[in-house]
Amino acid sequence: MPTNEGTSGAHVQLAPAVFVTGKGGVGKTTVAAGLALAAAEADGESVYVEFGDAAGGRRVLRNRPSGLEHITLDPSRAVVKAATPVFGSARLAKLALDNFAMRPLIRAAPAIRELGVLELARQVVAEHPGKRVVFDMPATGHSVAWLKVARQGRELTGKGPVHDVCARIEDELVSPGRASVVVVTLPERLVLFETLALCDTVEKEVGLLVDRLVVNRVPQAPSAAALADAAALSKTPDRVGEAAAKLAELLSVRTTVREQVINALNETVHRHGEGKGVEKGLTLLPMAAKDPTAATVADWLRAAGAA
């Protein structure tokens, strides 16, 4: 069952569009799929969107219910597709963007492609009114930059059709109430350090709130009784005493590391809390013997009130 010691109060309601982000390897795909699954079970319908080759979604959503739609957005075709209304027709968009000069520019500057993908994401949400749409974002670093791209494009262009596309993305998709950000992280010092920076960027540069901070694979607190017993036994000057000292050392390392993690989490919540989403959105998921399925994660999220 989820460890609820970090969860304070009720979670804020998630917006219709949910961007699930976090470093690679933190279990982001499973959390995204778990959220989509929980929404499908609650509302009858939901959408899970991923970018690229659909490998992640297929792995975690093996027995997907019929109400859960799985959409894959292909970044390589996004620009021309998204730009078609700007240029008036697919033919003109192809003429303007698929030529000797623009092809290398688009290849060299992925932001152009990201803007295209974001426009397609806006369309997915617009085409599924009333449904929860969960986006499994690519691994951090790039993914938050991705959310900023509409605002940057809007500021950069000032006016004109590209400006209007950016403005529509910002108004309809990347704004509080329209979209929630769910940050997934691990209870490791180094990873948490980056999570802190990520939450900052989401709030200051993207202008969205982090509505959930999901900490995956949180180990159980080591038994305090065992630590005390081992410490007592380690005073015996024999082989068993030496062994007990080793056990005491291991348990105290685990206790310290866990405390560091909880402190770092509290720091994140404190810095971003103060009435904002994260304060209420801290969700700790347990360590499991093997990779949990989306269904298991959906159960955990529901039990924590975070679905």
Partner: protein, 355 residues
């Protein structure tokens, strides 16, 4: 200068790539090399793992033992664009000023990810020359798309070295864009209308770029020499999860397509170092219930890890029978730096370099 050995560590996120790369560099230094560890990871992991600070210059890391020397370089991704421009326009300070006023320039950082990589490789090249480095370990960005960075500089070079630059530079200056006579004239018209006023900034940026085309090509050659040289060794790092195995498969395919097939698979946290003391406590009758419960849990954990490790090593042995595997222990300590030191002793350097 003779070309240094280059080892690139790649892998999915969360597999402990930075720690592993740092440990490998440390092991190389201990075995007598003048080693340089470079982190392209946008996070500050190397700072935590080795106590290095961000900067454009490599710093020496003191070794507790061993004959060689270890240097570390961790360029700041937030300064990448500034450094890039400073390197490119070293001889043309006027351009730097003009660029700093260009609105588009400021947006470039988020738009063009290759810049951090290309700057990192250029700074690496400088460190190799300055410190007479004979082996470089490069820690890539923590993602499945990590190998894309190998392609970024080439993409930028294609853009900046090609016809596109002149065309883009002209785009805002053309007055008769309404002319439908030539096909590209019409395309320019379409783009200028779509972009609006920013088209002028696009033109300005590209005309500055056109001035330093040759310097850029030189930068790109440094990057290729380090990353695409046939002697450059790629090592993939994995942890024991299914996602990490998928990432290895994906990266293996991508690198093989570039004729840079990985030469070693490093499996992190693959086993728990032998703990004789568990047995000593289990056979003792002085222990309490609380202790016995913990011991049972530890046995269970170890068994789970062992099974996961067998799945991973087994899958790799079947798929990549000729690629050697390095199994690293699972180490529980409080200080990240002591993990690096503990892992360094598990690399068989002569065997790895023979690959």
């Amino acid at each position: 200068m003779s070309r240094p050995r280059v080892i690139v560590c790649s892998g999915g996120g969360g597999v402990g790539k930075t720690t592993t790369s740092a440990a490998l560099a440390l092991a190389l230094a201990k075995s007598g090399s003048r080693a340089l560890i470079v982190s392209i990871d946008p996070a500050r992991r190397l700072a935590d793992a080795m106590g290095v600070e961000l900067g454009t210059k490599a710093r020496e890391i003191s070794l507790d033992a061993g004959r060689g020397q270890l240097f570390a370089l961790m360029p700041d991704p937030h300064n990448a664009l500034r450094t890039f421009i400073e390197i490119l326009f070293e001889e043309e300070p006027g351009s730097i000023e003009r660029l700093l006023k260009n609105r588009l320039y400021l947006a470039l950082e988020a738009a063009v990810p290759g810049i951090h990589e290309i700057v990192a490789m250029s700074l690496t090249w400088r460190a190799v020359v300055d410190y007479d480095i004979d082996v470089v370990v490069i820690d890539t960005a923590p993602s499945r798309n990590a190998v894309d960075f190998i392609g970024y500089p080439k993409r930028l070079a294609k853009l900046l070295g090609g016809r596109a630059v002149g065309w883009m530079a002209a785009i805002g200056k053309r007055t008769n864009i309404a002319s439908q006579d030539d096909r590209m004239g019409r395309v320019e018209g379409l783009l200028v209308r779509a972009l609006g006023p920013v088209a002028r900034d696009v033109a300005g940026l590209f005309s500055e770029m056109a001035r330093v085309r040759e310097r850029f090509i030189m930068l790109n050659e440094h990057t290729s020499e380090l990353l695409l040289h046939p002697d450059t060794r790629y090592f993939l790092v994995a942890s024991l999860t299914a996602a990490a195995r998928d990432d290895v498969d994906y990266l293996f395919r991508k690198l093989s397509a570039l004729e840079l097939a990985p030469r070693a698979l490093i499996i992190n946290s693959a086993f728990v170092p032998k703990r004789d003391w568990i047995e000593a406590l289990e056979s003792s009758d002085e222990t309490t219930t609380a202790i016995r419960e913990v011991l049972a849990a530890l046995d269970e954990e170890e068994l789970t890890r062992q099974r996961a490790a067998e799945r991973t090593t087994g899958a790799f042995s079947r798929r990549y029978p000729n690629v050697p595997q390095v199994r690293l222990p699972f180490i529980e300590v409080v200080e990240p730096r002591s993990i690096v030191h503990a892992l360094a002793d598990h690399f068989d350097i002569p065997a790895l370099l023979a690959q």
